[in-house]
Symmetry: C2
Subunit: 170 residues, 2 copies
């Protein structure tokens, strides 16, 4: 009944499960983080031996860095806001192209306490680029305070990567 919502039966953390899946596939991953500010990379690299599959990534807190470092089309942001599917997809594609990783995961969102973009606090969009060179993004409405929203955003980002690799995309 729970299906693929169970990622571990032995107490392994989600980042350890994702790491094992990447290693089994001989694949690598990079990240492009806005509202999580490094938390996603921190979780991936908390696993010993993660240098086998984690190459690196980008923290792009400002709109300018999303464009300068990741090549996000500067017109996308005023058109869709920084917390949008087109921007999350462009971030993931940019990280993948610049690092040469197999997969790239992006996170853009409003962690609060105030909204800078106009979208409600708790809105997070996660992008995923894969070996086919295409990107897909999902939008989430997360609850909690700033720390809780960031923690949940990193968790969903890892789970989106897990589902993508296991052929059950969200």
């Amino acid at each position: 009944m729970l299906g693929d919502r169970i990622y571990s039966r032995d107490g392994s953390s989600l980042e350890a499960v994702v790491g094992r899946m990447l290693r089994e596939r001989g694949a690598t991953v990079s990240v492009a983080e806005s509202c999580t500010g490094g938390l996603l990379g921190e979780r991936i690299t908390s696993v010993p031996g993660s240098s086998d599959y984690f190459v690196g990534g980008f923290l792009v807190y400002t709109d300018r860095l999303k464009t300068d470092l990741l090549g996000v089309d500067p017109e996308l942001i005023p058109q869709h806001t920084a917390v949008s599917e087109p921007v999350a997809e462009a971030m993931a594609l940019g990280a993948r192209a610049r690092t040469g990783s197999t997969y790239a995961v992006s996170v853009t969102g409003e962690a609060g306490p105030e909204s800078a973009t106009g979208v409600p606090v708790g809105t997070v969009v996660i992008g995923l680029a894969g070996p086919d060179g295409k990107a897909h993004a999902c939008r989430y409405a997360l609850f909690g305070d700033r720390a809780g929203i960031r923690a949940r955003a990193a968790q969903w980002a890892l789970d989106d990567l897990r589902r993508c690799m296991s052929g059950n995309p969200r």
Copy 2:
């Protein structure tokens, strides 16, 4: 007697103190992280309103990304190892130049459990680039397991930035 080793008398976290100092100076900061994998950016951005002074940064887990993303001279790494003062300084200068931030902090080290570079586990080198366009690095021998070494590395990195801004460099 404790002098500038006290960073807070009101319970403020080090990242909040550093954030207040950056805001007071109208300054910004970027990061270039290897062994901390995002933890330094995560701590800086855990403070609400940190987008006033944090612009972003780079996670450069592989040697190749240290060169490709930050412009670290590829000859420096085999010559000095990736955990060295010249590499930490080049990482900080690269992050500062590529983001346009006032300050940039870099972290490179061996968090364990095994050493990939030959330097002892717990060795961490922190680089700091400032408004004068110069960089300076300090080497630390940190104790603890992987999580402990990473946590202490992020703490020293924040404290090095604090001391630099207060005119008491290490």
